[in-house]
Protein backbone atom coordinates (compact mmCIF):
# COMPACT_ATOMS: atom_id res chain seq x y z
CA UNK A 1 0.00 0.00 0.00
CA UNK A 2 1.30 3.42 -0.90
CA UNK A 3 -0.20 6.62 0.39
CA UNK A 4 -0.62 8.98 -1.29
CA UNK A 5 -0.79 7.77 -4.92
CA UNK A 6 2.58 8.04 -6.63
CA UNK A 7 3.31 8.59 -10.30
CA UNK A 8 6.25 6.65 -11.65
CA UNK A 9 7.68 7.16 -15.13
CA UNK A 10 9.17 3.88 -16.25
CA UNK A 11 11.36 3.79 -19.37
CA UNK A 12 12.55 0.74 -21.24
CA UNK A 13 15.24 0.79 -23.89
CA UNK A 14 14.60 -1.67 -26.72
CA UNK A 15 17.07 -1.31 -29.55
CA UNK A 16 17.11 2.38 -30.45
CA UNK A 17 13.65 3.02 -29.14
CA UNK A 18 12.54 4.27 -25.77
CA UNK A 19 9.27 2.89 -24.42
CA UNK A 20 7.67 4.95 -21.67
CA UNK A 21 4.81 4.36 -19.30
CA UNK A 22 3.50 6.57 -16.54
CA UNK A 23 2.11 4.37 -13.79
CA UNK A 24 0.02 5.64 -10.89
CA UNK A 25 0.56 3.51 -7.82
CA UNK A 26 -1.93 4.00 -5.03
CA UNK A 27 -3.49 2.21 -2.10
CA UNK A 28 -5.84 0.25 -4.33
CA UNK A 29 -3.35 -0.86 -6.94
CA UNK A 30 -1.47 0.46 -9.94
CA UNK A 31 -2.63 1.52 -13.36
CA UNK A 32 -0.88 2.79 -16.44
CA UNK A 33 -1.99 6.35 -16.99
CA UNK A 34 -0.19 6.98 -20.24
CA UNK A 35 2.28 5.13 -22.41
CA UNK A 36 4.09 5.64 -25.64
CA UNK A 37 7.18 4.87 -27.67
CA UNK A 38 9.75 7.34 -28.94
CA UNK A 39 11.61 5.79 -31.81
CA UNK A 40 15.32 6.39 -32.21
CA UNK A 41 15.27 8.34 -29.00
CA UNK A 42 18.95 9.04 -28.65
CA UNK A 43 20.25 11.40 -31.30
CA UNK A 44 23.89 11.23 -32.39
CA UNK A 45 24.40 14.50 -30.53
CA UNK A 46 23.48 12.80 -27.29
CA UNK A 47 20.21 14.71 -27.04
CA UNK A 48 16.73 13.30 -26.88
CA UNK A 49 14.53 13.16 -29.92
CA UNK A 50 11.08 14.51 -29.23
CA UNK A 51 11.69 15.43 -25.61
CA UNK A 52 8.24 17.05 -25.58
CA UNK A 53 6.59 13.71 -26.18
CA UNK A 54 8.52 12.23 -23.28
CA UNK A 55 7.51 15.11 -21.03
CA UNK A 56 3.90 14.66 -22.07
CA UNK A 57 4.00 11.04 -21.02
CA UNK A 58 5.85 11.89 -17.81
CA UNK A 59 3.28 14.44 -16.67
CA UNK A 60 3.95 15.23 -13.02
CA UNK A 61 5.91 12.07 -12.38
CA UNK A 62 9.01 12.75 -10.32
CA UNK A 63 10.18 9.18 -10.00
CA UNK A 64 11.95 7.81 -13.09
CA UNK A 65 13.06 4.25 -13.67
CA UNK A 66 15.20 3.17 -16.63
CA UNK A 67 15.35 -0.45 -17.81
CA UNK A 68 18.26 -1.22 -20.06
CA UNK A 69 18.33 -4.04 -22.66
CA UNK A 70 19.36 -7.49 -21.58
CA UNK A 71 22.07 -7.42 -24.21
CA UNK A 72 23.82 -4.73 -22.19
CA UNK A 73 23.88 -6.85 -19.08
CA UNK A 74 26.06 -9.67 -17.83
CA UNK A 75 25.02 -12.05 -15.08
CA UNK A 76 26.74 -14.40 -12.71
CA UNK A 77 25.43 -16.57 -9.87
CA UNK A 78 26.74 -15.45 -6.54
CA UNK A 79 26.38 -16.62 -2.97
CA UNK A 80 24.69 -13.46 -1.76
CA UNK A 81 21.13 -12.35 -1.48
CA UNK A 82 19.57 -8.92 -1.58
CA UNK A 83 19.71 -8.76 2.19
CA UNK A 84 23.51 -9.19 2.07
CA UNK A 85 23.89 -6.85 -0.85
CA UNK A 86 24.01 -3.54 0.98
CA UNK A 87 26.90 -4.62 3.17
CA UNK A 88 28.88 -6.28 0.39
CA UNK A 89 28.06 -3.97 -2.46
CA UNK A 90 31.00 -1.61 -2.25
CA UNK A 91 33.54 -4.39 -1.84
CA UNK A 92 31.93 -6.34 -4.65
CA UNK A 93 32.00 -3.41 -7.01
CA UNK A 94 35.67 -2.83 -6.38
CA UNK A 95 36.38 -6.38 -7.54
CA UNK A 96 33.58 -6.72 -10.01
CA UNK A 97 35.87 -7.41 -12.90
CA UNK A 98 36.44 -10.82 -11.31
CA UNK A 99 32.82 -11.75 -11.94
CA UNK A 100 31.69 -9.87 -15.06
CA UNK A 101 33.49 -8.31 -18.00
CA UNK A 102 33.27 -4.74 -16.76
CA UNK A 103 35.82 -2.63 -14.96
CA UNK A 104 34.91 -1.26 -11.53
CA UNK A 105 34.75 2.26 -12.94
CA UNK A 106 32.42 1.24 -15.70
CA UNK A 107 30.21 -1.25 -13.92
CA UNK A 108 26.68 -0.74 -12.69
CA UNK A 109 25.83 -3.69 -10.51
CA UNK A 110 22.75 -5.09 -8.87
CA UNK A 111 21.53 -8.38 -7.54
CA UNK A 112 18.52 -10.66 -7.77
CA UNK A 113 17.77 -13.02 -4.92
CA UNK A 114 17.11 -16.52 -6.15
CA UNK A 115 14.78 -18.91 -4.35
CA UNK A 116 14.38 -22.63 -3.98
CA UNK A 117 11.20 -24.48 -4.75
CA UNK A 118 9.94 -23.84 -1.23
CA UNK A 119 10.25 -20.08 -1.73
CA UNK A 120 13.24 -19.59 0.56
CA UNK A 121 16.21 -17.47 -0.55
CA UNK A 122 18.91 -19.58 -2.20
CA UNK A 123 21.77 -17.38 -3.30
CA UNK A 124 21.61 -14.63 -5.84
CA UNK A 125 22.34 -13.52 -9.36
CA UNK A 126 24.79 -10.72 -9.85
CA UNK A 127 23.68 -8.47 -12.69
CA UNK A 128 25.94 -5.83 -14.16
CA UNK A 129 25.85 -3.40 -17.04
CA UNK A 130 28.27 -0.98 -18.62
CA UNK A 131 27.93 2.51 -17.29
CA UNK A 132 29.33 3.80 -20.57
CA UNK A 133 26.37 2.39 -22.48
CA UNK A 134 23.78 3.53 -19.97
CA UNK A 135 24.98 7.06 -19.30
CA UNK A 136 24.15 8.63 -22.71
CA UNK A 137 20.56 7.47 -22.37
CA UNK A 138 20.38 8.53 -18.75
CA UNK A 139 21.71 12.01 -19.53
CA UNK A 140 19.35 12.45 -22.46
CA UNK A 141 16.39 11.41 -20.32
CA UNK A 142 17.41 13.66 -17.44
CA UNK A 143 17.95 16.59 -19.76
CA UNK A 144 14.55 16.07 -21.36
CA UNK A 145 12.67 15.72 -18.09
CA UNK A 146 14.71 17.80 -15.69
CA UNK A 147 14.36 14.93 -13.24
CA UNK A 148 17.13 12.50 -12.30
CA UNK A 149 16.77 8.83 -13.10
CA UNK A 150 16.10 7.17 -9.76
CA UNK A 151 17.00 3.62 -10.63
CA UNK A 152 18.45 1.57 -13.48
CA UNK A 153 17.07 -1.93 -13.84
CA UNK A 154 17.62 -4.95 -16.00
CA UNK A 155 14.80 -6.67 -17.96
CA UNK A 156 14.71 -9.64 -15.66
CA UNK A 157 13.94 -7.56 -12.61
CA UNK A 158 11.41 -5.58 -14.62
CA UNK A 159 9.65 -8.83 -15.51
CA UNK A 160 8.91 -9.38 -11.81
CA UNK A 161 6.07 -6.93 -12.33
CA UNK A 162 4.43 -8.89 -15.13
CA UNK A 163 1.94 -10.49 -12.78
CA UNK A 164 3.59 -13.88 -12.56
CA UNK A 165 2.76 -14.21 -8.88
CA UNK A 166 -0.46 -16.04 -9.63
CA UNK A 167 1.33 -18.74 -11.61
CA UNK A 168 2.84 -21.64 -9.74
CA UNK A 169 5.47 -21.86 -12.42
CA UNK A 170 6.29 -19.38 -15.13
CA UNK A 171 9.02 -19.05 -17.71
CA UNK A 172 10.18 -15.77 -19.18
CA UNK A 173 12.47 -15.55 -22.18
CA UNK A 174 14.73 -12.53 -22.46
CA UNK A 175 16.65 -11.53 -25.64
CA UNK A 176 20.28 -10.98 -24.74
CA UNK A 177 21.62 -9.98 -28.16
CA UNK A 178 22.62 -11.63 -31.35
CA UNK A 179 19.43 -13.65 -31.39
CA UNK A 180 20.27 -15.40 -28.15
CA UNK A 181 17.71 -15.91 -25.40
CA UNK A 182 17.92 -16.39 -21.67
CA UNK A 183 15.26 -18.20 -19.75
CA UNK A 184 14.20 -17.13 -16.29
CA UNK A 185 11.96 -19.42 -14.23
CA UNK A 186 9.65 -18.14 -11.54
CA UNK A 187 7.69 -19.91 -8.83
CA UNK A 188 4.75 -17.87 -7.57
CA UNK A 189 6.49 -14.80 -8.93
CA UNK A 190 9.83 -15.48 -7.22
CA UNK A 191 12.86 -16.21 -9.40
CA UNK A 192 14.11 -19.78 -8.99
CA UNK A 193 16.41 -20.06 -11.97
CA UNK A 194 17.79 -17.27 -14.05
CA UNK A 195 19.83 -16.66 -17.19
CA UNK A 196 19.51 -20.20 -18.45
CA UNK A 197 20.45 -20.46 -22.13
CA UNK A 198 17.42 -20.96 -24.33
CA UNK A 199 16.51 -21.00 -27.96
CA UNK A 200 13.51 -20.55 -30.19
CA UNK A 201 12.25 -23.99 -29.26
CA UNK A 202 11.50 -22.70 -25.78
CA UNK A 203 9.32 -19.89 -27.05
CA UNK A 204 6.01 -21.81 -27.29
CA UNK A 205 6.29 -22.97 -23.68
CA UNK A 206 7.25 -19.56 -22.36
CA UNK A 207 4.75 -17.50 -20.46
CA UNK A 208 6.31 -14.28 -21.67
CA UNK A 209 8.91 -13.25 -24.20
CA UNK A 210 10.39 -9.86 -23.39
CA UNK A 211 10.71 -7.18 -26.09
CA UNK A 212 13.66 -7.25 -28.44
CA UNK A 213 12.93 -10.64 -30.00
CA UNK A 214 10.84 -11.33 -33.05
CA UNK A 215 8.51 -13.52 -31.03
CA UNK A 216 8.08 -11.04 -28.19
CA UNK A 217 4.79 -11.34 -26.34
CA UNK A 218 5.44 -8.37 -24.12
CA UNK A 219 5.69 -4.88 -25.59
CA UNK A 220 8.16 -2.32 -24.44
CA UNK A 221 5.44 -0.25 -22.81
CA UNK A 222 4.09 -3.31 -20.99
CA UNK A 223 7.56 -4.08 -19.69
CA UNK A 224 7.87 -0.45 -18.60
CA UNK A 225 4.63 -0.76 -16.64
CA UNK A 226 5.90 -3.99 -15.11
CA UNK A 227 9.19 -2.37 -14.11
CA UNK A 228 7.29 0.38 -12.30
CA UNK A 229 5.60 -2.10 -9.97
CA UNK A 230 8.30 -4.80 -9.80
CA UNK A 231 9.74 -3.63 -6.52
CA UNK A 232 6.24 -3.43 -5.02
CA UNK A 233 5.03 -6.89 -6.02
CA UNK A 234 8.40 -8.50 -5.32
CA UNK A 235 9.72 -6.47 -2.44
CA UNK A 236 13.29 -7.13 -1.45
CA UNK A 237 13.87 -9.61 -4.27
CA UNK A 238 16.34 -7.45 -6.15
CA UNK A 239 18.59 -4.45 -5.93
CA UNK A 240 18.73 -2.36 -9.13
CA UNK A 241 21.82 -1.80 -11.20
CA UNK A 242 21.95 1.75 -9.97
CA UNK A 243 19.94 3.92 -7.65
CA UNK A 244 17.21 2.69 -5.39
CA UNK A 245 13.75 1.30 -5.77
CA UNK A 246 10.89 1.42 -3.34
CA UNK A 247 11.52 -1.36 -0.87
CA UNK A 248 9.22 -3.27 1.38
CA UNK A 249 9.87 -0.69 4.08
CA UNK A 250 7.81 1.69 2.02
CA UNK A 251 4.94 -0.74 2.30
CA UNK A 252 5.11 -0.33 6.03
CA UNK A 253 5.62 3.36 6.33
CA UNK A 254 2.44 4.59 4.70
CA UNK A 255 -0.08 2.31 6.41
CA UNK A 256 1.70 2.52 9.74
CA UNK A 257 1.79 6.28 9.48
CA UNK A 258 -1.85 6.32 8.47
CA UNK A 259 -2.86 4.15 11.41
CA UNK A 260 -0.72 6.23 13.76
CA UNK A 261 -2.27 9.39 12.38
CA UNK A 262 -5.73 7.90 12.79
CA UNK A 263 -4.98 6.99 16.40
CA UNK A 264 -3.49 10.41 17.05
CA UNK A 265 -6.50 12.08 15.49
CA UNK A 266 -8.83 9.87 17.44
CA UNK A 267 -7.08 10.57 20.72
CA UNK A 268 -6.67 14.25 20.08
CA UNK A 269 -10.11 14.83 18.54
CA UNK A 270 -11.97 15.37 21.83
CA UNK A 271 -9.20 17.59 23.12
CA UNK A 272 -9.11 19.56 19.90
CA UNK A 273 -12.86 19.95 19.95
CA UNK A 274 -12.81 20.95 23.61
CA UNK A 275 -10.09 23.42 22.84
CA UNK A 276 -12.04 24.88 19.94
CA UNK A 277 -15.22 25.08 22.00
CA UNK A 278 -13.30 26.65 24.87
CA UNK A 279 -11.84 29.20 22.49
CA UNK A 280 -15.32 29.91 21.17
CA UNK A 281 -16.60 30.29 24.72
CA UNK A 282 -13.77 32.69 25.49
CA UNK A 283 -14.66 34.70 22.41
CA UNK A 284 -18.26 34.77 23.53
CA UNK A 285 -17.17 35.87 26.99
CA UNK A 286 -15.14 38.69 25.47
CA UNK A 287 -18.08 39.69 23.30
CA UNK A 288 -20.33 39.52 26.33
CA UNK A 289 -17.92 41.75 28.21
CA UNK A 290 -17.83 44.26 25.36
CA UNK A 291 -21.63 44.26 25.23
CA UNK A 292 -22.03 44.66 28.99
CA UNK A 293 -21.98 48.46 29.03
CA UNK A 294 -24.41 49.13 26.17
CA UNK A 295 -26.57 46.28 27.42
CA UNK A 296 -26.73 47.80 30.91
CA UNK A 297 -27.64 51.16 29.41
CA UNK A 298 -30.45 49.69 27.35
CA UNK A 299 -31.59 47.57 30.27
CA UNK A 300 -31.90 50.69 32.44
CA UNK A 301 -33.87 52.45 29.72
CA UNK A 302 -36.13 49.44 29.33
CA UNK A 303 -36.69 49.10 33.07
CA UNK A 304 -37.54 52.77 33.41
CA UNK A 305 -39.93 52.62 30.46
CA UNK A 306 -41.57 49.52 31.90
CA UNK A 307 -41.80 51.10 35.37
CA UNK A 308 -43.47 54.22 34.04
CA UNK A 309 -45.77 52.17 31.85
CA UNK A 310 -46.75 50.11 34.88
CA UNK A 311 -47.34 53.24 36.93
CA UNK A 312 -49.51 54.74 34.23
CA UNK A 313 -51.21 51.60 33.03
CA UNK A 314 -51.77 49.83 36.30
CA UNK A 315 -51.68 52.31 39.20
CA UNK A 316 -52.95 55.55 37.73
CA UNK A 317 -55.36 53.99 35.24
CA UNK A 318 -56.84 51.71 37.92
CA UNK A 319 -57.19 54.58 40.36
CA UNK A 320 -58.88 56.97 37.95
CA UNK A 321 -61.09 54.46 36.15
CA UNK A 322 -64.61 55.88 36.17
CA UNK A 323 -63.55 59.33 37.22
CA UNK A 324 -65.54 62.02 35.45
CA UNK A 325 -66.84 65.47 36.20
CA UNK A 326 -70.16 65.88 38.01
CA UNK A 327 -70.77 69.35 36.57
CA UNK A 328 -72.27 68.27 33.22
CA UNK A 329 -74.66 65.88 35.00
CA UNK A 330 -75.57 68.55 37.53
CA UNK A 331 -76.19 71.10 34.81
CA UNK A 332 -78.30 68.75 32.67
CA UNK A 333 -80.27 67.58 35.67
CA UNK A 334 -81.09 71.16 36.67
CA UNK A 335 -81.97 72.03 33.07
CA UNK A 336 -84.33 69.04 32.83
CA UNK A 337 -86.71 70.58 35.38
CA UNK A 338 -89.19 73.05 33.82
CA UNK A 339 -89.06 76.65 34.94
CA UNK A 340 -92.18 76.25 37.01
CA UNK A 341 -90.69 73.40 38.97
CA UNK A 342 -87.93 73.11 41.54
CA UNK A 343 -85.74 70.51 43.12
CA UNK A 344 -85.55 69.39 46.73
CA UNK A 345 -82.54 67.20 46.35
CA UNK A 346 -79.90 66.00 43.88
CA UNK A 347 -77.68 63.04 44.56
CA UNK A 348 -74.89 62.08 42.16
CA UNK A 349 -72.64 59.08 42.63
CA UNK A 350 -70.60 56.81 40.49
CA UNK A 351 -73.64 54.98 39.17
CA UNK A 352 -76.05 57.79 38.40
CA UNK A 353 -78.18 60.60 39.66
CA UNK A 354 -81.32 60.72 41.82
CA UNK A 355 -83.46 63.85 41.92
CA UNK A 356 -86.63 64.79 43.79
CA UNK A 357 -88.76 67.92 43.63
CA UNK A 358 -91.98 69.38 42.25
CA UNK A 359 -92.75 70.10 38.62
CA UNK A 360 -95.74 70.49 36.33
CA UNK A 361 -94.77 68.18 33.48
CA UNK A 362 -92.83 65.27 34.86
CA UNK A 363 -92.75 63.16 31.65
CA UNK A 364 -90.81 65.98 30.06
CA UNK A 365 -88.22 65.64 32.82
CA UNK A 366 -87.86 61.96 32.05
CA UNK A 367 -87.49 62.69 28.34
CA UNK A 368 -84.84 65.34 28.98
CA UNK A 369 -82.90 63.11 31.32
CA UNK A 370 -83.06 60.28 28.81
CA UNK A 371 -81.87 62.51 25.99
CA UNK A 372 -78.86 63.66 28.00
CA UNK A 373 -75.48 62.66 26.63
CA UNK A 374 -74.29 61.71 30.12
CA UNK A 375 -77.36 59.85 31.41
CA UNK A 376 -79.40 56.86 30.40
CA UNK A 377 -82.25 54.67 31.71
CA UNK A 378 -84.17 57.56 33.23
CA UNK A 379 -87.06 56.29 35.39
CA UNK A 380 -89.27 57.13 38.31
CA UNK A 381 -87.80 56.22 41.68
CA UNK A 382 -90.88 56.93 43.79
CA UNK A 383 -94.61 57.54 43.55
CA UNK A 384 -95.89 60.61 41.69
CA UNK A 385 -98.22 62.60 43.94
CA UNK A 386 -99.95 65.92 43.61
CA UNK A 387 -98.25 68.86 45.23
CA UNK A 388 -99.86 71.32 47.52
CA UNK A 389 -99.07 73.77 44.75
CA UNK A 390 -101.67 73.68 42.04
CA UNK A 391 -100.47 72.18 38.77
CA UNK A 392 -97.37 70.60 40.25
CA UNK A 393 -96.58 67.00 41.03
CA UNK A 394 -94.10 65.73 43.59
CA UNK A 395 -91.69 63.39 41.90
CA UNK A 396 -88.55 61.33 42.50
CA UNK A 397 -86.51 60.11 39.51
CA UNK A 398 -83.31 58.29 38.83
CA UNK A 399 -81.03 58.00 35.81
CA UNK A 400 -77.85 56.02 35.31
CA UNK A 401 -74.56 57.51 34.28
CA UNK A 402 -73.60 56.67 30.76
CA UNK A 403 -70.80 54.10 31.26
CA UNK A 404 -71.16 54.47 35.01
CA UNK A 405 -69.55 52.19 37.57
Amino acid sequence: MILPPRNILSLVIVGDDLHAARVAVGPFGARTVRAGTIERFLLPTGEARDAGALRAIAGRARRVLLTVPGSWCATRPIGLSTRDWHGARDELRRSIDRFVPFTPDDALAGIVTMHDDAGSPAGGLLVAASRGRVEPWRRAVEAALGVPVGAVMCPMTASLGLGLQRAERAAVLEPVGFGALHRHDFALGLPVRAAQPADDADIPAADAVLPGAEASTVTGCELASAAAVASLVAPGVFAPLDGRVTTHRGDWIAPAAAVAAAIALFISAPAVERSRVRAAIENLALERESLAEPFASVRDVRKEAERLSTLLGRDIAAATAGWSSVLPILAETQAAVPDAGFLYRIEIDGRGVTISGEAPDTPTILERLESSAHLTAARRAGPLSPSTEPGLDVFEMRADREGGR
Partner: protein, 193 residues
Protein backbone atom coordinates in the same frame (compact mmCIF):
# COMPACT_ATOMS: atom_id res chain seq x y z
CA UNK B 1 5.79 -16.54 10.04
CA UNK B 2 6.35 -14.60 6.84
CA UNK B 3 6.86 -10.89 6.81
CA UNK B 4 3.60 -10.32 4.97
CA UNK B 5 1.71 -12.24 7.61
CA UNK B 6 3.44 -10.34 10.38
CA UNK B 7 2.57 -7.05 8.74
CA UNK B 8 -1.04 -8.07 8.31
CA UNK B 9 -1.28 -9.13 11.94
CA UNK B 10 0.28 -5.93 13.20
CA UNK B 11 -1.98 -3.76 11.08
CA UNK B 12 -5.03 -5.79 12.09
CA UNK B 13 -4.01 -5.36 15.74
CA UNK B 14 -3.76 -1.61 15.24
CA UNK B 15 -7.19 -1.51 13.63
CA UNK B 16 -8.63 -3.51 16.54
CA UNK B 17 -6.93 -1.10 18.94
CA UNK B 18 -8.58 1.84 17.20
CA UNK B 19 -11.90 0.04 17.34
CA UNK B 20 -11.51 -0.59 21.07
CA UNK B 21 -10.68 3.05 21.62
CA UNK B 22 -13.74 4.11 19.65
CA UNK B 23 -16.00 1.80 21.64
CA UNK B 24 -14.47 2.97 24.93
CA UNK B 25 -14.93 6.56 23.90
CA UNK B 26 -18.58 5.98 22.99
CA UNK B 27 -19.26 4.20 26.26
CA UNK B 28 -17.53 6.97 28.17
CA UNK B 29 -19.51 9.60 26.31
CA UNK B 30 -22.76 7.77 27.03
CA UNK B 31 -22.03 7.65 30.75
CA UNK B 32 -21.42 11.38 30.80
CA UNK B 33 -24.63 12.32 29.01
CA UNK B 34 -26.12 13.98 32.06
CA UNK B 35 -23.15 16.24 32.72
CA UNK B 36 -23.12 19.55 30.82
CA UNK B 37 -20.65 19.36 27.98
CA UNK B 38 -18.52 22.23 26.68
CA UNK B 39 -20.94 22.42 23.78
CA UNK B 40 -23.80 22.93 26.22
CA UNK B 41 -21.83 25.66 27.91
CA UNK B 42 -21.10 27.23 24.54
CA UNK B 43 -24.77 27.12 23.63
CA UNK B 44 -25.66 28.77 26.92
CA UNK B 45 -23.12 31.55 26.38
CA UNK B 46 -24.29 32.01 22.80
CA UNK B 47 -27.87 32.31 23.98
CA UNK B 48 -26.92 34.97 26.52
CA UNK B 49 -24.97 36.95 23.93
CA UNK B 50 -27.85 36.66 21.46
CA UNK B 51 -30.26 38.00 24.09
CA UNK B 52 -27.91 40.89 24.85
CA UNK B 53 -27.58 41.72 21.17
CA UNK B 54 -31.35 41.61 20.71
CA UNK B 55 -31.77 43.93 23.68
CA UNK B 56 -29.17 46.35 22.36
CA UNK B 57 -30.72 46.27 18.90
CA UNK B 58 -34.06 47.25 20.45
CA UNK B 59 -32.60 50.35 22.09
CA UNK B 60 -34.29 52.89 19.75
CA UNK B 61 -37.71 51.37 20.43
CA UNK B 62 -37.14 51.43 24.18
CA UNK B 63 -35.94 55.03 24.08
CA UNK B 64 -39.08 56.03 22.14
CA UNK B 65 -41.25 54.18 24.64
CA UNK B 66 -39.45 55.83 27.55
CA UNK B 67 -39.82 59.27 26.02
CA UNK B 68 -43.52 58.78 25.43
CA UNK B 69 -44.11 57.35 28.90
CA UNK B 70 -41.99 60.09 30.45
CA UNK B 71 -44.02 62.84 28.81
CA UNK B 72 -47.26 61.26 29.95
CA UNK B 73 -45.92 60.71 33.42
CA UNK B 74 -44.71 64.29 33.69
CA UNK B 75 -48.28 65.51 33.16
CA UNK B 76 -49.59 63.05 35.73
CA UNK B 77 -46.85 63.59 38.26
CA UNK B 78 -47.52 67.34 38.37
CA UNK B 79 -51.05 66.60 39.54
CA UNK B 80 -50.13 64.16 42.32
CA UNK B 81 -50.16 65.30 45.94
CA UNK B 82 -46.72 64.29 47.22
CA UNK B 83 -46.34 63.55 50.88
CA UNK B 84 -44.30 61.23 53.06
CA UNK B 85 -47.46 59.79 54.63
CA UNK B 86 -51.10 59.43 53.67
CA UNK B 87 -52.12 61.61 56.63
CA UNK B 88 -49.97 64.46 55.42
CA UNK B 89 -51.37 64.05 51.91
CA UNK B 90 -54.97 64.30 53.13
CA UNK B 91 -54.03 67.28 55.27
CA UNK B 92 -52.60 68.95 52.18
CA UNK B 93 -55.80 68.18 50.27
CA UNK B 94 -57.78 69.70 53.13
CA UNK B 95 -55.68 72.86 52.86
CA UNK B 96 -56.41 73.13 49.16
CA UNK B 97 -60.13 72.63 49.80
CA UNK B 98 -60.17 75.27 52.51
CA UNK B 99 -58.46 77.71 50.21
CA UNK B 100 -61.17 77.22 47.60
CA UNK B 101 -63.98 77.39 50.16
CA UNK B 102 -62.54 80.58 51.59
CA UNK B 103 -62.08 82.13 48.16
CA UNK B 104 -65.68 81.44 47.20
CA UNK B 105 -67.21 82.35 50.57
CA UNK B 106 -68.75 78.94 50.96
CA UNK B 107 -69.45 77.77 54.49
CA UNK B 108 -67.66 74.56 55.40
CA UNK B 109 -69.76 72.94 58.08
CA UNK B 110 -67.85 69.73 58.63
CA UNK B 111 -65.10 67.53 57.31
CA UNK B 112 -65.23 63.84 58.10
CA UNK B 113 -62.24 61.63 58.78
CA UNK B 114 -60.21 61.09 55.65
CA UNK B 115 -59.98 57.72 53.98
CA UNK B 116 -57.11 56.21 52.03
CA UNK B 117 -57.22 53.43 49.43
CA UNK B 118 -54.46 51.72 47.48
CA UNK B 119 -55.48 51.09 43.88
CA UNK B 120 -52.73 48.52 43.20
CA UNK B 121 -50.79 46.28 45.56
CA UNK B 122 -47.32 47.62 46.31
CA UNK B 123 -47.92 50.90 44.55
CA UNK B 124 -46.98 54.23 46.17
CA UNK B 125 -50.06 55.76 44.56
CA UNK B 126 -52.97 56.30 46.93
CA UNK B 127 -56.52 57.52 46.57
CA UNK B 128 -57.13 59.88 49.44
CA UNK B 129 -60.67 61.08 50.13
CA UNK B 130 -62.42 63.72 52.23
CA UNK B 131 -66.14 63.94 52.94
CA UNK B 132 -67.25 67.58 53.12
CA UNK B 133 -70.46 69.23 54.31
CA UNK B 134 -70.91 72.75 52.97
CA UNK B 135 -73.51 75.39 52.50
CA UNK B 136 -73.66 77.35 49.23
CA UNK B 137 -75.70 80.42 48.83
CA UNK B 138 -76.80 79.76 45.24
CA UNK B 139 -76.60 77.18 42.47
CA UNK B 140 -74.06 79.41 40.72
CA UNK B 141 -71.83 79.37 43.81
CA UNK B 142 -72.26 75.61 43.96
CA UNK B 143 -71.23 75.27 40.35
CA UNK B 144 -68.16 77.43 40.96
CA UNK B 145 -67.28 75.37 44.02
CA UNK B 146 -67.56 72.10 42.16
CA UNK B 147 -65.56 73.44 39.22
CA UNK B 148 -62.76 74.63 41.51
CA UNK B 149 -62.72 71.36 43.44
CA UNK B 150 -62.53 69.30 40.24
CA UNK B 151 -59.65 71.44 38.98
CA UNK B 152 -57.58 72.00 42.07
CA UNK B 153 -54.11 73.22 41.10
CA UNK B 154 -51.51 70.56 41.70
CA UNK B 155 -54.07 67.82 42.31
CA UNK B 156 -55.97 65.25 40.30
CA UNK B 157 -59.40 65.14 41.95
CA UNK B 158 -62.76 63.52 41.48
CA UNK B 159 -66.08 64.12 43.17
CA UNK B 160 -67.18 60.59 43.89
CA UNK B 161 -70.51 61.51 45.51
CA UNK B 162 -72.52 64.68 45.53
CA UNK B 163 -75.67 65.34 47.48
CA UNK B 164 -77.38 68.73 47.14
CA UNK B 165 -80.43 69.73 49.11
CA UNK B 166 -82.32 72.88 48.09
CA UNK B 167 -82.79 75.52 47.11
CA UNK B 168 -86.50 74.41 47.04
CA UNK B 169 -88.93 77.04 46.01
CA UNK B 170 -87.15 79.96 47.72
CA UNK B 171 -83.61 80.43 46.28
CA UNK B 172 -82.45 82.48 49.23
CA UNK B 173 -82.70 79.49 51.49
CA UNK B 174 -79.35 78.26 50.07
CA UNK B 175 -78.09 74.77 49.34
CA UNK B 176 -76.74 72.15 51.70
CA UNK B 177 -74.03 70.16 49.98
CA UNK B 178 -72.43 66.90 51.00
CA UNK B 179 -69.70 65.58 48.79
CA UNK B 180 -66.89 63.01 48.77
CA UNK B 181 -63.77 64.44 47.21
CA UNK B 182 -61.06 62.02 46.02
CA UNK B 183 -57.54 62.88 44.95
CA UNK B 184 -54.46 60.99 43.81
CA UNK B 185 -51.44 61.10 46.09
CA UNK B 186 -47.88 59.79 45.94
CA UNK B 187 -47.03 58.59 49.38
CA UNK B 188 -43.42 57.98 50.23
CA UNK B 189 -40.01 58.89 48.92
CA UNK B 190 -40.09 61.08 45.84
CA UNK B 191 -36.86 59.51 44.73
CA UNK B 192 -38.86 56.47 43.75
CA UNK B 193 -40.42 58.47 40.95
Amino acid sequence: MKKEQTRTLVLAALVVLVGVLVVADRLGAASEDDAPTPRDEHARHAEVVARMRAEIDAEPEWRDALEEAGETWAGVEARLIHAPTAELATARLGQLVRTVVTDLGVTLDATSAPSVRTPAEGSPVRIIALSLSLRASSPEQLNSLLDRLENLPGAWTNIARLRVQGPRRVPTSGLNVDLDLEALAWVGDRGAL
